[in-house]
Symmetry: C2
Subunit: 282 residues, 2 copies
């Protein structure tokens, strides 16, 4: 069954990847020595052409997807100026993303930094801007797909099951889990999905994004920017996350456990094809 | 019992705080309409003197502690140039932290941004610098304190129990939980603790920091910089977090559930005063 489960994925987690976890010596609660499997966390510096953009902490798999997805999700890439190469240097822990012509981002970054001090606020403001006029497609969501996906994803061998302390994000289509990325930060996992989509020209319009992380404003904004109309999590909501989802008509489903969930936005996409009989307690 | 539990805290969570959560209308898994309590998440802009530093996303309680703690943990405040005022403007969602003289940070920020593009990498590099020569005190940690704290913290009424999607951090001393902060980001919760400590001149040397979040490098670095020798979490580790803990001799305890835990660093502080008999399965 595990084998069949994995066959469905284009990219599945790799819990046995030697460079993704590390065995560390420690003590247990009785003072006995234990060997504990822990997640790797390494710096990766992302360049856009000649401009150093950020150093992200990551488990280290799919650095090219992470770089492209990060830049894409920060609004630093656009379709008029396509990516022509992505070079990863393992020794230097550097990825250089090159576009056809130099971007305007170097100049923009200097100007913005002068006015608002630090990239965090700036980037966030930019992300909100990108949502104006965004229309997400009216693609349907069968409840049976949700239950299938949730069950499959929870049974998929992952770094989370092996070592914990990690977030997962899965790109899905109907009841199929396609690309399952994990990383120390939930944003990296989403960015790797975005990078994969961008690199393979995959549209978000008929996709579902599943995340283990919380449904915060930033997660909702990223999903919408990736053109994905449906975001699902086993975790909970923030108020602003729910508000933005309503604004852009994204279907937002949280607290997904077994056959239970809460939908706080975009319930018009739902198709109730499952006869639920387990709703008597909360 | 709940009442007694709360009496111990100097600051306890406030799950009934009207501005911290919001009730949102949605649907449950059967298509019935439900009212769901979700966490608030609002932008707060932090200024250091006349320099805008960052816009953080926060639940919105204790903005002054968050601002001071954030600046402190980023190495932007030092003891030679004390904070003289902290002003919070509710309408503008702005906190201004003023120091005796202007800091060198404005100039520094400009210079660093030119070389490394974005504050994320820079700030991280600075944080590592601050650890050179740091010596954490050899204060003891009784296992019985750990079990007491874990049980108390888990039973304390909190936003987490009310609405989920939030991280908690608790400053403890021996078996007493003193200050319990929550926020949408685990870093905000720790920063609010740091701000409280700084504002009340509280030393970290005899304290224990408990967090619901993962034990990543940044969390270990922050704890060490706050002068706290012991960091405990119910969640797991990253490899770099464990490595840095060893380097600065911080006691790092993770996967704390009931009477079980794993200690990956600084076990010389542990005093085994509990006769554990429940260690037969893993």
């Amino acid at each position: 069954m595990k084998k069949e489960l994995l066959d469905e994925y284009i990219i599945a987690p790799n819990p046995d990847g030697v460079e993704l976890t590390k065995t560390v010596e420690g003590l247990d609660h009785q003072g006995n020595s234990v060997r504990s499997q822990v997640i790797e966390e390494k710096p990766l510096t992302i360049y856009l052409n000649s401009q150093e953009i950020v150093t992200a902490m990551t488990i280290g798999d799919y650095p090219e997807y992470l770089a492209v997805g990060f830049l894409k999700n920060q609004g630093m890439l656009d379709s008029l100026n396509p990516v022509i190469s992505v070079d990863y240097d393992d020794d230097l822990a550097v990825v250089v993303v090159r576009t056809e012509s130099e971007t305007s981002f170097e100049e923009k970054l200097k100007k913005k930094t002068r006015t608002s001090g630090c990239a965090v606020g700036t980037v966030f403001g930019d992300m909100m801007e990108g949502l104006e006029g965004l229309k997400l497609p009216t693609s349907p969501l069968r409840i049976s797909w949700l239950y299938d996906l949730s069950s499959k994803i929870n049974r998929t061998p992952s770094l989370y099951l092996a070592a914990g302390a990690i977030h997962g994000t899965v790109l899905c289509q109907e009841n199929k889990a396609l690309v399952y990325m994990e990383d120390v930060g939930r944003h990296n996992a989403v960015d790797k999905i975005a990078g994969w989509m961008d690199s393979h020209n995959v549209s978000g319009s008929d996709k579902i994004l599943y995340t283990t992380g919380r449904l915060t404003s930033e997660m909702v904004i990223k999903t919408a920017q990736m053109g994905i109309p449906i975001l699902v999590s086993r975790s909970g909501f923030t108020a602003w996350g729910a508000e933005i989802a309503v604004k852009v008509n994204l279907t937002l489903i949280g607290r997904m456990r077994g056959q239970r969930f809460t939908c706080l936005s975009g319930s018009d996409r739902l198709i109730w094809d499952v006869d639920s009989e387990n709703g008597d307690d909360k």
